[in-house]
Structures are given as structure tokens and as C-alpha cells.
Symmetry: C4
Subunit: 203 residues, 4 copies
């Protein structure tokens, strides 16, 4: 670790990475807590249990969606932090703000799983996703212009890939947010393009 290369108030990235890994791990695991074993009494038949489990399907879907979005967010933090050697004070604040929004995801997911067909739940979930992805875009923007990056690791291709990811996600989330007022639940289909973009880029 090269202490001299750091600006005065800078902080090494290791601790922020450790806090993030912990917080993502917990938030990802808490998402599942919403899948509760249905209380059916002692002498429950197999049929009744199967039905109760089918009733969990919407919650399972929102779980998968949230897990997928959060995994992408985590991945893009990993990718961008690989290019950076230390973090400015502002960057750390941005990061903590994003972690706060990430830690809110289990709540939003739970709300969506329970009341997915109401605009209120869909709006709040999309707003959470928008906040989280927007803060990610801000981070990418700041890091790409900061003197703290390992410049030799960033060529034009890497830069383009980072930008597509950084601006694509909040764009989709913004569309989902607007649509949430009119087509709750279905509005989340607006997240799908991100899969296509990723597939295209790999081609």
C-alpha cells in the first residue's frame, strides 16, 4: 500500500470493501426471510402445503429480482474498486449512502412481495432501486475523473463498459419508477433490457 499516493483525507479501500461485503451478504440473506414457512397447524396434509407454497410464488419472484439487482450492484462495486487505490472523503459518504439504500432493499422487497399490485408498493420499490443505482452511477462518474485510479488499468474499452453499466441501470430503474404509478408490478419489466445489454456486450 502506497501511503504517499493518497490525498490527506483519503481512506484505504479495504475497510469499505469489508463493510460492503458484510452488508451485501446480510441484505442478500435477509431477502429470504420474507419467504416464511406458512403456519398450517400440526396435521397438515401434503396438498395443503403444496398450495401454501404456490402462494409464495410472487414473493419468490421478487426475491429473485432483488437478489439479481443487488448482485449486479455488488459486482459493479467490485469491478470499479479494482481500479482504485484509495477513496476520498466524498466517495466514502457516497458509498455509505448507497449502503443505506441497499440495507433498505429487504424492506422494499418485502413490501413488493406482499402488495405488489398496488402502486404504492411498486413506486417505493422502484424508488429504492433508482436511488441505489443512481448512487452507483455517481460513484462511477466520480471515480473516472479522480486522480485515485490506477490509470494504467483503464483503457477505452473498460471505460465504456463501466459507463454502460453505470448509466444503464439507473435509466431502467427510472423508467420502472415512472411506470410504477400506472402499471404496478408489470413496471419491473423495464429492468429486463439490462440483461440484453449484458448479453450483447459479451457477444
Amino acid at each position: 500500500m502506497n501511503e504517499r499516493a493518497r490525498a490527506a483525507g483519503d481512506i484505504g479501500k479495504q475497510r469499505i470493501e469489508a463493510l460492503s461485503d458484510g452488508l451485501y451478504a446480510i441484505a442478500l440473506t435477509l431477502l429470504v426471510l420474507d419467504l416464511k414457512v406458512p403456519p398450517l397447524g400440526e396435521a397438515v396434509g401434503n396438498e395443503a402445503l403444496v398450495h401454501a407454497l404456490y402462494a409464495l410464488a410472487p414473493k419468490a419472484l421478487t426475491w429473485i429480482l432483488s437478489f439479481w439487482v443487488m448482485a449486479i450492484l455488488w459486482m459493479s462495486q467490485v469491478r470499479i474498486y479494482r481500479l482504485v487505490h484509495s477513496l476520498s472523503r466524498n466517495m466514502v459518504r457516497l458509498e455509505l449512502l448507497q449502503l443505506a439504500c441497499v440495507s433498505l432493499m429487504p424492506f422494499s422487497t418485502s413490501l413488493l412481495g406482499e402488495y405488489g399490485s398496488t402502486p404504492a408498493a411498486a413506486v417505493l420499490y422502484s424508488a429504492n432501486m433508482l436511488a441505489v443505482t443512481l448512487l452507483g452511477a455517481l460513484r462511477t462518474r466520480e471515480l473516472l475523473h479522480a486522480p485515485r485510479v490506477h490509470a494504467n488499468l483503464i483503457d477505452d474499452q473498460v471505460r465504456r463498459a463501466l459507463k454502460i453499466r453505470a448509466y444503464g441501470l439507473p435509466s431502467c430503474a427510472a423508467v420502472a419508477f415512472v411506470l410504477a404509478f400506472f402499471f404496478p408490478a408489470w413496471n419491473l419489466l423495464a429492468m429486463l433490457p439490462m440483461i440484453l445489454v449484458r448479453t450483447l456486450r459479451s457477444a
Copy 2:
């Protein structure tokens, strides 16, 4: 860390390891949350409490089984990552998919502990275990053929040990899965051979 040895989209293994360690730690701890202190009212006698605790025995058993399976999974990730210096994009996806299935284990365990004698619970638990172990086998297969391994650390003996573990676990889980439809709860005895194999190999 040798940056040059990495392919363009590769990721160092440290972050995935940290996320995994966190997620396993939480999932392992959440397993216990299913063991709930029985609510018996204020003036409970000792006998009543002892009976209530005995009634937790099936849940305790499923806890032990899940803890044991997840510990083996974690161990095999540790062993295989020791041989690897970086992870391809596909590998990371595989890993996140497996973590999603691992984070589902507390739910399946809870279901099994509550309704272990119904086929639905036994099938879902076995399916979860099958998914988790199968993804582990895919990982081992991909890593053994990838150019990212520390080749000097893998001799024939290590390779054979990795394969036995990688394919043995999902094989047992597949048998348990099929048997779950017919002999719920008892089907999990199909996991036992893994202990024997491990004991044999140490001999």
C-alpha cells in the same frame, strides 16, 4: 497479485471469498433461528419446558444436517479457491447463483423442520440441496479446465479428491431428491455415503 496473468474481464478472488464467508456465516447462524424458544407463559414448570424442548428435536436434527452440508460446501469452496488466482465472469455468475441457493437453505431447513413428513417439504429441501451441490460440481469442473489455476498445486491426487467431492455430493442429493417423493424425511439418509467416502479417503 499478478495483474498481468488475468484475462480482461477477470476478477480477483478476494471479494467473492469475503462475500461468501459473510453469506455462509449468516446462513449458518440463521439456521438456528428456527429453534425458537417455546412460548409457555410465565409460571411454567420444569417438566413442561423439558417436554417443549424435546418437541424441538426434529428441528435440531434438520439444523445439524443443514449445518453439516453447508460446512462441507464452504470447505470445498475454500479448497478449490486455494488453487485459483482469479475468476472468470462465468465463474462469478456461477458463484452468485450458488450463493442465492445457499441463502435459501434456512428457508428449506425451516420447512423441513416443520413439515418433514410431507413429500412437499422433503422434495423442496432435497431440490435445494441438489441445486447447491450441482452448482458446486459445475464450478469444480470449470475450474479444473480453466487456465486460471495455479497448475503447480494440482497433482493427480488433488484432482481426484476434488472430483470425488464435487460429483459425490450432487449424486447423493439426486438420490435424496428422487426418494423424497416416496419416503419423505427418510430420504435424507441418502446423504450418509458422503461421510463414509470422506472417512475412507482419509484412511
Copy 3:
């Protein structure tokens, strides 16, 4: 790592950092568990849900406050540990004591969110914040006088910044604690000066 530089009973800082990062990550995430999805029955209208969500506003506020305070605490631990290479036995005890108080924050926060207008809740929350920040001040004081610091990293400006943070936070918390007996809930405004100080210092 220079083993010789350590006193006999000293401990490297890595493990304490890892435990702290984990514990903070969990405590930060548990804060949100208090925001529970309101149970409204199956056929809930959008209006009813919006109202139920508005009713969560006080809990959301206490969540933000606690997240903010705990993020500051974590940040100041990060900043001070950057200057230190190992920890004395006493330091580790102080740290564990602080972690105990940090792990209590979700409970105090929950209490405040539920009964914020009663003195009892406001007093207990402020006491918890006082304990946590006071232990942080003790740590800063001990570290600044200990032979374990990387002396070359501490100039007068760093030292002053550390002291402002270390003594400012418990001072605010002490005022909040006293005011809690008379103006529950409003007493927490006493934490605001910390934002101003931080803004001033950046100027």
C-alpha cells in the same frame, strides 16, 4: 507486519477490524428490520397502504439518525485504525465493549421508533449513544498516547481533527441525554452541531 514492534500481549488489528466490519454491517442492516411491512389483509387498497407507510415515518427518521451516527462511529474507527499497527489488551477490551454497545443500537432505535415521545425511550436511546461515543473518545485518547501508532502519520492537523471528532460526539450525546428527561424526541436535535462542525472543518 513487524512482529517485533509489538508489545508482548498485543494483537494485530486485522481481526478486530474484521469483527467490527461484520458487526457494524449486521447492526446497520438490523436497524431496517424495524421498518416492518404493515399487515393489512389481502384485499388492501392503495390508499390504505399509503397511509400505513406514512405511519412508518417516525421509524424511518430514527432509522436514518441511527444509521448516520453508526456510520460516523465506523468511519472514525477506520480513520484511527489507519494510524495504528497493533492493539493493546486494554484497547481490545475497550473495542469489544463498544461493539457491545453498538449491537444494542438496533434495540434502542426500535424503542425510540415505537415510543419516541416518552422520556424512558429517549433517555435509553441517548444513553446508548452516549456510551458508544464516550467509548470512542476513550479509544482515541488512549491511541494518541500509545506507542503503537505510526508516528509519522500523525501531524498536528490530524491530531486536532481526531480530537474534535472524538470529544464532539459524546458532548452532543451528553446534552441529548440530559434533554431527554425534559424534551423527549426533540432532545435529539442536540446531535445536529456535529454536522455543522464537519461542514466547517471541510471549509
Copy 4:
């Protein structure tokens, strides 16, 4: 990291440390979940809340005891791992077994906090503590005789300190276990000598 110094099946200690830190962090935080905000209805008076909080006192006491014991356990793992460079297969199993018992502590603590005056709860809690400390003693014993230690870090004084800690804790726990059948709750005073020993040793 010196790969050659390891025996064939050995594992580096970093991953086990990370899993332990995560699991301890979670278990320590879950202990607090037992302190639940009392549900008192909307228009609760301050007096009623104060009474409800006083009623939490026994749970607060068991929380402190468990936090203290688990902090000591974690500390002794930290101290002993500092002396070791890699872990044998058996050591890892021992460690995972201990982590299983540690993850059970929140349950035992919860049981003790709820039904502390019944022998069943006191016996189960003491048994948990006995298992956890006994496994710690086994670990110390195995490590002190293993070829994996950094021999130069262990002099006679360190060795004696490790042994006092390793055998003192399970001895106290064993006494507490036996007394639990006759003097539930009071039996835990048998843990007190450990504080004295530690104080004596520091003198």
C-alpha cells in the same frame, strides 16, 4: 504465504478467520434480538414503559454474560491463530464444530433469559457453554502439539497463558453445568473465577 510449509491437506487460516469473524459478529448481534421492544399499545404512559423495561432486566443480564463469554472465546481464537500459519483437516473440523455451538448460543441465551429459574434452561445453557469452551480447549491442545505453529512465537510464558485460558474456561463451565441441576440461574456464578484469574494474571 509459504505454500511449501503446509502439509498436503492443510488450509490457510484466512478463510476460517473470516468465517469465524462473520459468525461471531452475527451471533453477538443476534443475542440482542432477544431484547424485544415490549408491545404496549399506542397511548402508553412513561411509567408503563419504564416498568416494561425493568422486566427486561434478566434478559439484559443473560445478554451481557453471553456477550462476555463469546468475546473471550473469540479473543482466544484470535490469540492462538496468531501463532499458527495453517490448519490441518482435523483442526478445521474442530473449528466448524465450535462455530456450530457458537451459533447455538443465541438460542440458549434466549432460553435462559426466558426461563432462567428452571433447571432445564440452566442445564442447556451451561451445556452449550461447556461444549463451546471444551472445543476451544481441544483446539489449543492440538495446536500446541502441531508442527504448524510459528515456534519462535511460543515461549513458556505464552504457553502457560494459553493453557490457563484453555482449561480454565471449560472447568468453570463444567462446574456451572453440574450446579445447574440444583441451583438454576445461580449456577452461572461459577463463571466468575475466570475474571479473577484474568485479573491476577495481569498483575
